[in-house]
Point group: C2
Chain length 165, copies 2
DNA sequence: GTCTTCTTGCAACATTGTAGCATTAGGCCT
DNA sequence: AGGCCTAATGCTACAATGTTGCAAGAAGAC
């Protein structure tokens, strides 16, 4: 499961890769005892392949333009299921909406960078949030979320078109 | 509606404290060139005094039970103004809603703990999010948000009544 | 091919936040 | 103290993001 390449970089792929991904997604879903539906398949593949965490909205758009029409609710439920099964992770985007990313290695964690200008979120490999030390008595930490805020490279370059907030 | 606990901890205070806090809040607002309205006054005092970040909802409830009725929108705008003026800070609660905390020292930053069971958020003094190092080229970090997730002391103690998720 | 039950799709609703605009009131000036 | 100007307020409407309930459809076991 641990690939030699950077986990979320969109690299050039061959048709073989596509087949592999497809099979993999199908098997991972089936292995959890869930039914392999086109929604789950398409979403999981998209998340596995995605270079950064995607919002529900982005996923919906991508599905639509891929010719796979879906109800909003169905998509929510598919995402919920994937998260529940540990195949995807839900992270809090800077805005109100959740973002979702594929999980390859359940143990692997990383921080995220949120561009306050265009709203984009990118993964920061190699920057693991340090677990807490000085906690009040009785508190149990299960995970840590580290989000860096600022301006991404694209927005910093100047006056490109920007989706405002 | 809001949490079952008291919205912000009402510790024993003297009348002098009240006067001091009141004056301070009033002056801080006026110093920013804003009008001192009962909404801003009440909200800022509540935030300054609060022991943990409060949601819009909690603040609204507290205001209502303090006999200061307010429109939802007015409260949003008062909070926005306080954040804009650097008197309050907006942090992303685990849920969709923002939470707000008073700012005493603009330079002082701290992490937060979010209880995934009851939704409560507490401040973790002494745990400053480490600024990023290994960022891609062209990225500029302005601030870091570190949120620890897990179970708070109250929820960990067992089967007290809990607002589920 | 049939059957069971998990998923989907629809409609309705809940929560959280914003926009526009007429009305109120803070605070400066006289 | 009274008047005036304009920042704040309080509506009402609307937008964005999720959730719930339930009938209809499809995945997969037999």
């Amino acid at each position: 499961m641990a690939s030699p390449q950077p986990p979320y970089r969109a690299s050039a792929r061959s048709a073989d890769d596509d087949v592999l991904r497809h099979v993999s997604a199908r098997e991972r879903i089936a292995a959890r005892g869930g039914r392999v539906t086109r929604t789950r398949l398409a979403v999981l593949e998209m998340l596995q392949h995605g270079s950064h965490p995607l919002s529900h909205d982005e996923i919906g758009d991508a599905l639509a333009s891929a010719g796979v029409a879906h109800d909003r609710v169905t998509l929510y439920r598919a995402l919920d299921w994937l998260v529940e099964q540990g195949l995807a992770r839900r992270i809090a985007g800077g805005e109100r909406a959740w973002r979702f990313e594929g999980v390859r290695d359940a143990a692997h964690r990383h921080a995220h960078f949120h561009c306050d200008r265009c709203g984009q979120v990118v993964c920061l490999e190699g920057l693991e949030p340090a677990p807490a030390t000085a906690l009040p008595n009785g508190f149990q930490v299960e995970r840590a979320e580290l989000v860096l805020h600022g301006q991404c490279a694209t927005c910093g370059r100047g006056d490109e078109e920007v989706r405002p907030r």
